[in-house]
Symmetry: C2
């Protein structure tokens, strides 16, 4: 099953040096989840050849502009491009007010439905569960209420070993039962044990998205053992005072968190406009956590 | 005196083919006026090496998103980049409500002042007059209230002919009077006629910005004899029905307007996303008005 994330924006606060404010596109089994939507996200989708029309879920972590200013434009373009499919929006409640007032004054009546799911900023909870994924909020510690999101793949069905089933002359219509883990009794009374004809599916993977936040151990349980941890790393650690003051994290802290929660991989993002080159951010994180990578716009990371 | 406009966005409605929604930066005597501000305008300023900090005036024609969705991000970045200078915003009244609600929910307290000048959408009037320019609204005909803007340079002072004044031994302190058009009586009683020692300054130029609108003769008087007419040309004339339905103009109509009002130059913009190449738009306009040009992003046009 596809489970990958494409970075659309990696900048904090203001766009600079060809870096755009935060946005990511998560593809989970060919369903598309947009995580945050800074200004210019729709242009980034076009630039990277990604179809906005495929997005069915939008998740907004908080109402600082670098995480949502692009949403009104994206939704407006979807409307102008003929969208009729509903879209689910998981966001702080005030986002609806912000969007509604803009639709009102432009006299825009969307031809598709916005289905809002307001996020409780105080309690980590499951906000979506479908056949592919479970999404749970992560309560972060920022200047205004801010939630991260943990995406956990659903366990897939067992895989049938087709050659063995064909050799045993098992008709196709029995495969579904085997995939669900059942043993088979054939019409002639023969019993086929599931373990002999199937293999287990891959272990479900998890992706945790944490932006923006102070390092705060209260959210560590929510992200423990995740496969890929995206964590903001706005500053180098020499700027720790500034990080604390603005409720952000340093690259060293992001690496420490990845290490403490035993993440398998760390993806660093949300870089301050003061950094023209990002090598030092990556180097700093790697001193504590080797499996660190920079979130590079246009790149897709397997989870 | 500098009087030129740089195109930051030339697309209508949705961004496509590397074209951004509408925005222009007018430089009048090194004072900067931002005309409309579609999503991604701050990124365009960065891309073209223009300083947002120099902008002291913002004019918003109407509240369709492709003309203002970039403003909240631009104003937020100005704040984050330390701006303390006030900025003047000429816009429909509801814009304040749209901006205020977003500043409120992001807990942003700007360190600089937004000075609003609400536009009367029903009456063409002067909205700004300073030592460089007079700005007058143009009442357009769109689906929601929409105003264009006519910028008329102020007549400059007469130019002194320095060689003649030096030959006549006229002290520097008399130059200011001559520039203002006065004759001079020297201490020895000699009279210097102004016309002998000065030349007239250039004729003031006018720039008219018309987007978005149906072709409607009621606004022609407001733009008569302008030096450069920017006019939207969303469609080719074969799409006249669609243009009428959406309250837009075709390239042929824009050319007809330029011809009727005796503009010296026509700048075409606000191109529909259906046009990947713009040659046909320019060709169509030139059949009626030879001095037509396409508004190309990043290009600067002398007025």
């Amino acid at each position: 099953m596809t489970f990958e994330v494409t970075i659309l924006g990696s900048s904090s606060a203001t766009p600079v040096y060809n870096r755009n404010p935060t946005a990511q596109l998560l593809n989970c089994n060919e369903k598309f989840y947009l995580i945050d939507c800074g200004e210019g996200t729709q242009q980034q989708l076009i630039k990277f050849g990604l179809k906005a029309s495929k997005i069915d879920f939008v998740l907004i972590s908080h109402l600082h502009g670098d995480h949502y200013f692009g949403l009104i434009g994206l939704l407006s373009s979807m409307h102008l491009n003929g969208r009729i499919k509903p879209i689910h929006i998981f966001a702080p409640e005030a986002l609806k007010e912000i969007l509604d007032i803009q639709f009102k004054h432009s006299d825009t009546k969307l031809r598709y439905e916005l289905i809002y799911h307001f996020i409780n900023p105080k309690k980590s909870e499951i906000i979506l569960e479908n056949s592919d994924v479970v999404i749970q909020t992560i309560i972060l510690n920022h200047r205004i209420p801010c939630t991260g999101f943990k995406f956990t793949e659903k366990k897939r069905l067992r895989k049938v070993v087709v050659e063995r089933l064909e050799a045993a002359g098992v008709p196709l219509e029995y495969y579904a039962m085997l995939k669900r883990g059942l043993d088979l009794t054939l019409p002639n009374g023969e019993v086929l044990l599931n373990v002999d004809y199937t293999t287990d599916s891959a272990t479900p993977k998890t992706y945790a998205y944490c932006s923006d936040t102070l390092m705060d151990e209260r959210y560590f349980n929510s992200i423990r053992n995740c496969d890929t941890l995206y964590h903001e790393a706005t500053f180098l650690h020499e700027m720790i005072d500034r990080a604390n003051e603005t409720h952000h994290t340093t690259a060293l802290q992001a690496a420490e968190i990845a290490s403490l929660v035993q993440a398998k991989k760390l993806l660093l993002g949300h870089f301050s406009s003061r950094y023209k080159t990002l090598g030092p951010i990556l180097d700093e994180a790697k001193t504590l956590f080797e499996a660190s990578e920079l979130a590079v716009e246009g790149h897709t990371y397997q989870i």
